[in-house]
Symmetry: C2
Subunit: 321 residues, 2 copies
Amino acid sequence: MTREKLRVGLDIGGTKVHAVAIDALGEVVADLRRPTGYGTDAVLASAKAAVVELARLAAVQPQDFRSIGVGIPGSVDAEAGRVANAVNLGVADLALGPQLAAEFGVAVRVENDVNAAALGAWHLVGFGSPLTAGASRSMAYLNLGTGMAAGIVLDGVLWPGSHGTAGEIGHIPVDPNGVICSCGQRGCLETLASGSAVARQWPTRHPLPVVEMFEAAERGDALAIEVRDRLVVGTAVAVRILILSFDVDTVVIGGGVSSLGMPLLGRIRATLDEWAAESAFLAALDLSDRVEFVPEGSAVAALGAALAGDPHRASRAAGAA
Amino acid sequence: MTREKLRVGLDIGGTKVHAVAIDALGEVVADLRRPTGYGTDAVLASAKAAVVELARLAAVQPQDFRSIGVGIPGSVDAEAGRVANAVNLGVADLALGPQLAAEFGVAVRVENDVNAAALGAWHLVGFGSPLTAGASRSMAYLNLGTGMAAGIVLDGVLWPGSHGTAGEIGHIPVDPNGVICSCGQRGCLETLASGSAVARQWPTRHPLPVVEMFEAAERGDALAIEVRDRLVVGTAVAVRILILSFDVDTVVIGGGVSSLGMPLLGRIRATLDEWAAESAFLAALDLSDRVEFVPEGSAVAALGAALAGDPHRASRAAGAA
């Protein structure tokens, strides 16, 4: 019996590299996390070490992997396998794809981290295998991490945009009286609903500010309630924008903030239902039935990177950024 | 020499049916306008009469047409060729596609009017023939008619959405202090930037309220300036949302309001440039270079209907609404 070739996915974040190896069905058969180095050389070394270690865990040689997919923040030129302006990683410009391909002799694809996670979410919510092209479903993956951005999957294929910047809805201004965003505009969605928005409004040494804030709000803390309600409404606004713009079947929410789970999802749905009560137009769109969270504890980003890396699937447009 | 078969496009609006016959290159070879009847039977009769008259103009028999495409407002189920809830036409439900196909023995496709116009705009702005699939360009057609809605063309293929409601950005609320929209929400984009928005704020018997308002604003009329500036900013907001969401190469603006031409486009671009001056993020997106108007006097909706009707092109997802 010939052993099937495994696909590797690397989710390279500011603090850790999460690496998985998946089989043909998309099941995770090996999984590890290790710290990410800072700077171009260190990031490259972290990625290489993760692949080597993963091969050891899976009891294969690195060159036996079928493919390596990488999800990484920053401006990604998927065709060239380059990443630029990954500020949190200290990477100005890195030909990550060609370097990994040369090291291991395996096909490599680099994607923006949110786009990669979108493919993982697509798989995890059971929209059929992303390997079968043409599944007539559509999904927006709304990432509530440090910032807010969405990855768009139409008919099972990633839509990265004409310049690789589709889904930048976190920088749609929605509050003329809001704070100045890191992007220079005022009152962007991201200043209401994201990890950085909560951290700004709820300063704490707690390792999970969002969790602490949410608990304080449940206890009746006035500031916490304000911060929580902004998070809930901002997320509901993002869902409304995604469905009115793209008319995706489903918006799947992931990222650190989504670890709040049902208490947050319940409030988002309640907000969407309140809006529907005032608008027959919105009511007909069933917004609250079209939003869900990624399954808890799922390796959405690393899994998506592995799926993105498969040479038999490709995103629809050139992902040059 | 065998004469090539012509494709028919019908743009069915509240007051008139605009019908064109186009050749293989998309050139209009016959063109007519006639009043639209009100109610299901009258709309169907108007459509049939337009096809017959167009055949006479083109000196062919109706059954010699290659295809008939129809753009019509309302909820369109493109697979079934049905239109529902076309309020301005007095049509609750009409199997327009099957009826026309039975009458003339020609393939018929019915599309939502804005989606059809998007295909016409795609052709007119020179993004290559929409008949060649896979052109790696993307475009949003922003229609400023009575209402505001967008049609989305990705890689040369219409993206109608999972339920046929993609591009409903006119109902994204942007002003918490705005007026109640016909959809029941408050401060929708459509209440700022559309024909109905101008008509509400600038009551007049002038046949083109937008033109009169714009001229009054140029003369310094305070109310007109307010109405104009709302129109300009609302349109710029729509462009920003379309590019941040879809990252389309270009936003092409059409519809009655766009007849204002360069004076309006210039102000929209100036607004986008002002925003770019305050945000390096927006500046990098080159918003003002990515917006244009449909060529003046072009038959964008009827042409698009003819292109939509071609049996060799199909939209990506089921257009069931």
